[in-house]
Symmetry: C2
Subunit: 348 residues, 2 copies
């Protein structure tokens, strides 16, 4: 049931929000150097990028984005620029890690290979239809627990791997303001499948996915005016993750969470300036969640691009009147589907 | 939202399948000695029990079982004798640990207090309606991840805490036969809520529950003739766990899995003798699962005892013709409901 993933099937997509990528790339060199890398420069970033030599790397800038998405209203600025990389990748798998995140150490002090762990997560089956209390049954030294139905032990393809963060955890601006000095030091040595039907916040900081199976559902939908440079400001990945989970559930695939960890420094700023719009976002998520928990995609939708096209219509219908943010998200999703069909669906 | 649990509100229920309980009790003395203990002697065990002195402990034997459940066809032998302890307990909370399980050490070598961890799990809320990728948000040093809806951060009461096992993992007879020397050495330092709607195998080896809220759903339903002395033979706890999860979901409560670990020795026997009936059990679980995944309890059922009464009727109707094991389980559940109403519902 496990699949073999070749190095040549993987793109690493990096969103460059700050010009100097060299320390980031040097820290990741032992793990990135075997792979093709796509760097997407935040279209609002003016300075030239500094890039360590010796990588198989392609840079996309504002002019590339404009050339491909010129008639689109999608906002590819800030963290959302990575979606352009997802679009122009020609590989089956994509791994994306934020620029403020470095390789993490495990409890024994060894530096961990987040790339290899993401690939393992995607290469081994997921088990969304029954919960295994012994975590990932495909890990060496583990198995299915007593009582796990034998008919379900083959699992299903894993299409999304959500990694976690040591040091600066991924909190919203409110929580970060309340606990500015809290650090996540607990390394939980586990990978698990998120059960079918269970919704989750999929952070974009440290993820990997099967681009051919799920790519169109990793999408730039929600973007707040003037925001998107700092994680605690963004909901783009949360929205994208909800879409991806709904689509994965509908298509019978699996989503994993847990390992790998990255060591996250954050960007050193404090979130107080972001709090002014936070109450609006709090309400938005509370409004959106019942939609995602109850939405049913039709049987006619048999691919991720079909599912997103259908989902955008339902977002417009059910949430469009609740907030202009949702109406814009529906429009962005439609435009994204068109872009994906014309550009993203191409593969090597 | 967290509740305060007093020592006097907790019963520790131990099923005595082997006569010498002294080493077990001595190993657990630092953690058990503050609590009232109920020992239920397997009614098929002839030898007298050996019990270490110095515990607040009450022993129930075959004659007690016959006095209370004389007109019942429920099989309380082997591991199932613990259900009699759940029935006669007068406490709000019950913790139950198998006789072959001792306190576990954490990765730093410290002996862990499984009782305290179970109490913490029950005292802090569960979060079944949205998945928190940072595990238990109520643990010190953790919180809700960015994107977790604020309206859901209060959580709901946790009514069932399922702990895990180091050393001998809880495998079925087939897996144990294939991997006789495999040992579980990975201590995953996490507690999580199993999402609403997700079914799981709840092992009875190391559990705790809110007896007043969920007790009637921890029930002796499935028992195979001549079996029940060895964990890999039993499905009693798997069946009970599926009932408990369905009931907990219906009532809006939460179920947690993860910490605490116990160090499990197993009973030293090999499972080959248990394999003859294993293929029958494999099929039974595969038949039963779609039922549990789709069963809907009516709104009229507002307590665990209501839910079990309704569930038994649906088991009889939907599964009774599939196997006599299910028909017997439905009968046992009906009898259990009656016993619970007359005996179990009494509280201090």
């Amino acid at each position: 049931m496990s699949v073999q993933i070749e190095d040549s099937e993987v793109d690493i997509v990096i969103a460059a929000l700050h010009p100097n990528l060299t320390p980031f790339l040097e820290a990741w060199r032992p793990f990135f150097s075997r792979f093709h890398i796509i760097v997407v420069k935040d279209p609002e970033l003016d300075s030239d990028l500094q890039i360590a030599p010796g990588f198989d790397l392609k840079i996309y800038t504002k002019s590339d984005i404009e050339a491909v998405a010129k008639s689109s209203s999608i906002n590819f600025s800030g963290h959302s620029c990575r979606y352009f990389g997802y679009l122009v990748s020609r590989k089956k798998y994509v791994i994306s890690i934020d620029q403020d995140s470095l390789p993490a150490k495990d409890p024994s002090g060894l530096v961990t290979d987040a790339v290899a762990q993401h690939i393992t997560n995607l290469a081994t089956p997921a088990t969304p239809f029954f919960f295994n209390t012994l975590y990932d049954p495909f890990r060496s030294g583990a198995d299915f627990v007593r009582g796990y139905p034998f008919s379900m032990r083959c699992g299903v393809p894993c299409v999304l791997s959500c990694g976690l963060w040591l040091n600066v955890a991924d909190y919203d601006a409110l929580t970060q303001s309340v606990k500015p000095n809290e650090r996540n030091t607990r390394y939980v040595d586990a990978v698990m499948t998120v059960p079918v039907g269970a919704m989750m916040p999929a952070s974009g900081i440290n993820i990997a996915f099967d681009r051919l199976a799920l790519g169109p559902a990793l999408l730039p939908g929600v973007h707040f005016t003037g925001e998107g440079k700092r994680r605690w400001e963004t909901l783009e990945d949360i929205w994208s993750g909800l879409c991806a989970k709904v689509v994965s559930d509908h298509l019978g695939f699996g989503v994993k969470t847990g390992l790998p960890y990255v060591h996250r420094e954050g960007d050193g700023t404090k979130p107080h300036g972001s709090l002014n719009k936070e109450s609006e976002k709090v309400k938005l998520l509370d409004d959106a969640l019942p939609f995602f928990q109850s939405v049913k995609i039709s049987r006619n939708a048999t691919s991720a691009v079909d599912c997103v096209a259908e989902l955008s219509g339902m977002v417009r219908e059910k949430l469009g009147a609740v907030s202009p943010v949702f109406a814009s998200a529906a429009n962005a999703m439609d435009e994204w589907v068109n872009l994906w069909k014309s550009v993203g669906a191409q593969a090597e």
